[in-house]
Symmetry: C2
Subunit: 374 residues, 2 copies
């Protein structure tokens, strides 16, 4: 079982390794996130167990762990013994660091594991998050948080009950170009925000994959990649939408019999800002946002990949801060939060907020009505 | 009384005068418009009477008439005697070529006038079009055609009854960059169309102008400039939308007490193509469309001005065909249609189709529901 981004663009770009102290940098650039002192965190490496060894864990997260300052791979949780053997050999993992989904309660007996990183299909996130929390572990869970608002709430409750932190894998909260765009909007460098256009989609491959099965995915491209455009709308505006409407179309009714193929949505924010979004599994090429102000604009294109994010501004300047390993930054930040006993900037509540909007988007498609969120 | 485009961008750009035989060029580039032989049209100049002498007539249409091959200014219709005197002096117009809105029936006695170009506020288009038709004149009417579907139908009926042609002032149907984009989509040069994003808006000035009064305008920026983005969606896709939804927001509730300040809309087409649109009177800077295909994209930005339209394509080529006088091309084409007894490519029925969609957009805003158009 596997989860996480699988759109082709991301892996086709050259991986650069200019790792920045992005956590500190990003925290400074996010005025709506409380700032905490980073100096206090003791320099200790927390043990991470990866739960779900699919493409994202294999090609992104495990390599990223090697680039972290505060994290180390300390365990794996997988349903496939062959994968376990391969990972044990590659990462020199002892037998007692290997778990199956059925033996997660035994994580409680392993003091080397501090955090479980849940990278399984969307519809299993709650099960694995709750199991990890019950075993006394902090949880970092991939986006989308789950497939329903109710499941998200259960995850938050379980971690709260266990006294453990829950973070969602919103890697772009640790990406300097996105943080720079947030700063430009907040400080009104190019004017006062009025309108956002954002979209992300790709032509999905293998028709047998879990992403196309609603029970595991919870929905189509909106859940998987549209969520990045939704995130951009939310963190650029710094607001929660008050009304949402959406349309969906499906051309390939065999491949997409369970989920939407393409979807557009629009949202109104309390300030009067309007936003148009789109997402698709039907074609590649949309990977962008633009934000118009009363006297200019800024845009990222490409906006959401692992590398090569860049953009432009109405004043002629480019936006191209140094590439870095977003997963390493995300994990290091979470480790520092745990070590320093301070809250993450991407808590379960942030995942829940997205899930509320996505649920409203699907409700609008289903009912043909504008859905009010209050 | 005046009508037509008044967004500042248009007049601030340098006027170039590379007049092309755009009508023939555009007809060839529009596969969904029947082609007619242009060779048969006798070379005679038709007399145009301008009905409404506001900014658009003064700064665009009257100068454009001087650049036409098949048209000449033969009369004026105005409610302001002072304007009549000024125009008479400037264009050497005899007294019998000057009419008020109340004396339009007397146009019937003036054989020098073949066409009335209606350039009054939206909500008066039907009155003036019907009066002109009853006086036996062909009518070219500015966009938007009127303020309701019913009014549009009355205009079509009146011209049909009179045996006269009715054209709507959709100048971009005669603009070579737009025609090139239509060709690229139709011939699938960059792939098969999947998604369109289009928007047009500007910060409106004078709070006393008729555009802000719903009785005369019929609505806000959607009627005035959003219609260009809607047109782009319709002629790029070559389809009529089957469902529409929209959201509107207003920040300045004094200035915009009668109409929307900003509006986004989305549409689904029968082929599965989705489109996101936006329009505003609240801020300037959005004047664009982009069309994504299954293997590329094309875009114009700026897209809708009188001059300087240009764009780009995913294959690295630019789109920048020679600037021309869109109003001259529009009027020459209509004159040739009349002289050659062939239908215009921008008939009243085309204006009616837009009005149906715009009515659905406003209905969606009003009801909070997706509106199905079948």
């Amino acid at each position: 079982m596997e989860n996480g981004d699988s759109f082709p663009l991301m892996n086709s770009l050259p991986s650069r390794r200019h790792f920045l102290k992005a956590s500190a940098l990003a925290a400074a650039a996010l005025p709506f996130i409380p700032k905490f002192s980073l100096a206090a965190a003791p320099k200790r490496k927390l043990g991470f167990a990866l739960c779900g060894l699919g493409n994202l864990s294999t090609n992104q997260i495990a390599p990223a762990l090697q680039e972290t300052e505060y994290c180390k791979l300390a365990g794996i949780i997988t349903g496939t013994p062959e994968k376990a053997r391969r990972w044990q050999a590659q990462y020199n993992l002892p037998d007692h660091s290997v778990y199956s989904y059925d033996t997660m309660s035994k994580l409680a007996d392993n003091p080397d594991i501090d955090v479980v990183y849940v990278v399984t299909p969307n519809g299993l996130h709650a099960d694995h998050t709750i199991a990890a929390a019950k075993a006394g572990k902090h949880v970092l869970c991939e986006k989308p948080m789950e497939v329903s608002v109710e499941k998200c709430r259960q995850m938050i409750d379980a971690c709260k009950t266990a006294g453990k932190q829950l973070a969602i894998g919103y890697r772009l909260h640790f990406e300097p170009n996105h943080q720079e765009c947030i700063r430009l909007v907040r400080e009104q460098v190019l004017g006062s925000l009025k309108f956002i256009e954002a979209g992300f989609g790709f032509a999905i491959g293998d028709p047998a994959q879990w992403r196309l099965k609603k029970e595991l995915s919870g929905g189509g491209p909106m859940m998987d990649v549209g969520i990045y455009a939704l995130q951009a709308m939310r963190y650029l505006s710094g607001e929660e939408p008050i009304s949402v409407s959406a349309l969906a179309t499906t051309n390939d009714k065999v491949k997409f019999r369970d989920i939407e193929e393409s979807l557009t949505w629009q949202m109104a924010f309390p300030s009067g800002v309007l936003a148009n979004g789109n997402t698709t599994y039907g074609f590649s090429g949309i990977n962008r946002f633009s934000a118009n102000t009363d006297r200019g604009w800024l845009a990222l294109n490409p906006a959401y990949g692992y590398h090569g994010i860049s953009g432009s501004r109405s004043d002629g300047k480019t936006i191209r801060l140094a590439d870095m390993n977003q997963f390493a930054a995300e994990m290091d930040d979470f480790a520092q939060c745990i070590l320093g006993n301070r809250p993450t900037r991407v808590p379960g509540e942030e995942g829940l907020r997205d899930m509320k909007v996505i649920s409203a988007i699907y409700e609008s498609v289903r009912t043909g009505k504008v859905v009010n969120l209050t």
